[in-house]
Subunit: 219 residues, 2 copies
């Protein structure tokens, strides 16, 4: 088996995949490394290196063929990956996710939401059924879902995470502002919005106080 790709590379590959999809929709068929680099905000050398690591090939004269690039990237990034997701917590974040993923172009399907508030359960939210938390285990038992979005308040996040893990979930996108303890075969990706906002604030503070040039000078 070939060595796993470094995480930073994987993240950029996802970006390329998105950019390339848009280019294809616009009707473009080929792209140069520096062109893709511009759109993905990095360097041509980096793009070539990344694509190489992913096993993509271009041709010296014409650049990369977008369609085969996408095929290859999809294979590397998406082959065998779960696409079925449940959402825990039907607050605003949970609802936002469901709205977002009910758009037709989505690659994930949200099978169900779970909430402890009985006013929310029973009836579906935007065609997505919402069940009481107590139904979680039987649902997981029956549906073998491997991915979950955890969008609940911090204090209950760990307990729910444990239940997800016991139910066979192997990937959690966690919006709760706590660090979850999970066994090593489960991957948690934290989306701590507060922390991101702090980071933005920190970096905005650092960036040089520059004269505001016309926006048209910026790529």
């Amino acid at each position: 088996m070939k060595p796993a790709l470094p995480i930073p590379t994987v993240e950029r590959l996802f970006v390329y995949h998105k950019v390339l999809t848009n280019l294809l929709i616009e009707g473009t068929t080929h792209v140069f490394s520096y062109d893709l680099a511009n759109r993905a905000r990095n360097t041509a050398a980096q793009v070539r290196r990344d694509l190489m690591s992913a096993g993509c090939v271009g041709s010296s004269g014409k650049g990369y063929d977008i369609r085969s690039l996408l095929d290859r990237l999809s294979e590397v990034l998406e082959h065998g990956a779960s696409r079925q997701v449940i959402v825990i917590g039907l607050g605003n974040i949970g609802k936002g996710l469901i709205s977002y993923f009910s758009s037709p172009n989505n690659e994930f399907s949200i099978l169900a939401a779970f909430d402890r508030d009985t006013r929310k359960t029973g009836k579906p939210f935007q065609e997505c059924p919402c069940f009481p938390i107590a139904d979680l285990e039987p649902f997981l038992e029956k549906n073998k879902v491997e991915l979950a979005v955890l969008a609940v308040p911090g204090p209950v996040a760990q307990v729910l995470s444990d239940r997800l893990v016991m139910g066979g979930v192997r990937g959690i996108l966690n919006f709760a502002p706590v660090r979850l303890a999970v066994p090593k075969w489960v991957h948690v990706e934290d989306n701590h919005i507060t922390m991101m906002l702090k980071k933005v604030s920190y970096l905005a503070k650092l960036s040089p106080d520059q004269v505001k040039e016309s926006l048209t000078t910026v790529g």
Copy 2:
């Protein structure tokens, strides 16, 4: 001026700050590097190195004094950083943010939301006033806000980003699934939920198919 801290370090420092805050609330006054490491899910050496880079000092016998650690971290991470934010787009994500930041313990204050839907504007959402997008420029003119959360559909994100930048915004937390083009003195932090979910899916697929041991064996 001392050299800027590496981004990965800064991110970990935010985590330490959070962990330490919780510890302080619990009444703990001192912490060892390996202890902090456990709670932040990394190694003792890393913790010591990070704290050192941030200019923190501990003492060999007793570990680190949490209160002075927090003081120092706050100084490094938060001194001079903007705390006032506006939210563009009062969809579910926008609402979620506002709900989240209206909790009393928050460090950011959301001054206003903006939306193009006139059914949402005029009346406040949870005490946060919501204005029509047309009011953006005068609002920025008057309030000198430097941070914005962009939670609008992809197709309109770039235009709104331009308007934010022209209005003096220097940091954007972007939920729209596009790469924004901004001048170099503006920092954009992307929170592309779809991409994060893809990443979780990718990593969950990779993680070894491990025997499920008792959850109690896991920290």
